[in-house]
Symmetry: C2
Subunit: 340 residues, 2 copies
DNA sequence: TTGAAAGCGGTACCAT
DNA sequence: ATGGTACCGCTTTCAA
């Protein structure tokens, strides 16, 4: 409408040249002032003029131009997770982002939904991130890591359960979770243990290592493990519960508390006694476990703070050669309540 | 160490000039081939040579250089949410990202944790996104919107409950949720209705509009509303439940199903009959509501598909003048179960 | 069909 | 204390 008649300079993006012109100085001086370049002395009056000009024009530097010139970015790229992440990981991510920002990094989550493996990695590489911290949402191959490194990434860190050659793998040992659960159940006298595996795509990332840990402990203690695929809906749980007694299980470990709650309800509706007939165990120690009756036994996970990981990222970025020790990021311990 | 002796070109990032040199052509030709520029004919042998050279070097184009030259990006920036988002929003975001990618946008979530209002907006603006779709995680002011527009954003869309001047506000009317809940409760004969307000920071974004809707309906029907601050932990719920009878409430609407579950448990532990003595209502229609006893009444939310929003974003980007109709993104309806 | 060259917005070196 | 200027990687006229 009246845009062209009335609006003041709504048109073009102001550049540092515009600021320079308005302040009556050179672009170099603008750069010096706005970046507080310490290696060069600019008089106070000039500084003021430049700042005022920038303010007046609403100048915002162009990140692309800056990093093009600099030859590198300060961007840390986190592949966006593809499934609803629990409060645990959410908190962890928040801390990580906050800490990275404090270290002057730009944190960006990149959604790579339609892309697979190296396609996604290539898309990341186009942004020239200085670091990539992957949870394992996307298959990171050695060649993918190489591509990132070649395009300027100084740190490629994966928290995935399995390691990737070339990347700094910080193993978040999900198998300890399953191990803890089974250890607890065996100690309480259970021998035939079902393990609920979410059918939802993407979840296998965590679910597989967890059942792997369960298997390991079972093998060591002579217990029996039976995988039980389960979709996160009432029907699937009801179906599983209906055939329950046929299976001859005396315990079940359910990936996490949400799935445990779902199955426990279905078992109760079938008249199966918990924990007498079947012990139920979850994981993640969500609040809801304490609200159920019987109260849900679970595996509590102690996650490293995001701050620590941020510092690690920073160390690796500063000196990629110095391989940091690959400390485990998680602790896991069984929490006994009433369902086991 | 032995890097300079043995490693094959692990050193520098290959540029299009490197590709050109290896293929024996000019940088222009490389650009034409790699972008399939249709306005120019390149012979098939040349194309092959260029592609092979790019492949061999592991060439990845530099997004910053490209957009600097182009004068604009294809980046859609989504401010990262600051609190754990339920399955509803997660699904919505996934769809949105997927659809935007199909329309050839680069979708990036930007975490603005330590930054407030215009600071955050400025950080976004440095990336020169072509569109910003905000849920309202950060206070988007009219001046913030102006800054984004000035730096090249052709679409600034907010889904926040409250509108922002200058932005395309696509109101996601959370107040309908609270309204539905109270309507339902009043219809079932309740008159004194508590409304649970999460104490967790960030949640007020949704919680405020929801109670506002509740207030409106209450005012229209002569019911009484009492806000009940509640932290998401057992102690807070227990404390609230202990003083329950003093308040003389015959119903409570609890922001969402998670908080409803928390409070319902505490009320039951106090021996308060549900729904006889106090009706309980949640929102979001989470699966867990059907697993509780009594089954939780709730407000079901129908969310628009992310695809639709993606198309809207695209329309606005192509022609910012054409103001699209501001259709509501949500439907809400009460689901009666056993707790009310 | 291909190449030379300008220029996008900053930064930093070298003069003045 | 400031200004001139080359250059980062890529796209795109314009010429050849």
């Amino acid at each position: 409408m009246s845009q062209s008649t009335n609006q003041p300079a709504e048109r073009s993006v102001p550049t540092s040249a515009d600021v320079a012109r308005l302040a009556g100085v050179s672009r170099a001086t603008v750069s010096y002032v706005l970046n507080n370049t310490s290696s060069v002395r600019i008089s106070e009056p000039t500084r003021r003029r430049v700042r005022e000009a920038a303010e007046e024009l609403g100048y915002v530097p162009h990140a692309a131009a800056r990093s093009l010139r600099a030859g590198h970015t300060r961007m840390v790229l986190l592949p966006a997770v593809t499934f609803p992440v629990g409060p645990l990981h959410h908190q962890f991510f928040k801390e990580l982002q906050w800490a990275l920002r404090r270290l002057d990094y730009t944190v960006v989550q990149y959604g790579s939904l339609g892309l697979d493996g190296d396609e996604a990695v290539r898309a990341w590489a186009e942004l020239r991130p200085v670091a990539v911290v992957s949870l394992g949402e996307v298959g990171l191959t050695p060649s993918g890591v190489a591509m990132l490194k070649r395009s300027g990434a100084r740190a490629v860190i994966t928290l995935a359960p399995r390691r990737v050659e070339g990347a700094h793998s910080l193993v978040m040992d999900q198998s300890a979770v399953g191990g803890c659960a089974v250890t607890h159940l065996v100690q309480r006298g259970r021998r035939s243990i079902g393990v609920v595996m979410p059918r939802e795509p993407g979840m296998e990332l965590f679910a597989e290592p967890r059942i792997e840990g369960a298997r390991r402990v079972a093998a060591a203690t002579g217990a029996r493990i039976e995988p039980l695929p389960l979709s996160y809906d009432v029907e699937s749980a009801t179906a599983l519960a209906r055939g329950w007694r046929r299976r001859g299980l005396d315990a079940v470990y359910a990936y996490n508390d949400d799935y445990a709650m779902l199955l426990m309800r279905a078992l109760q509706d079938e008249g199966i006694g918990i924990p007498d007939e079947t012990a139920v165990m979850g994981a993640d120690d969500l609040l809801l476990g304490r609200l159920l009756r019987p109260r849900l036994s679970t595996v509590h996970i102690d996650m490293v703070t995001g701050r620590l990981l941020a510092e690690l990222v920073d160390r690796v970025v500063r000196d990629p050669a110095e391989a940091p020790e690959l400390r485990d990021l998680m602790g896991a311990r069984a929490v006994h309540r009433d369902s086991s």
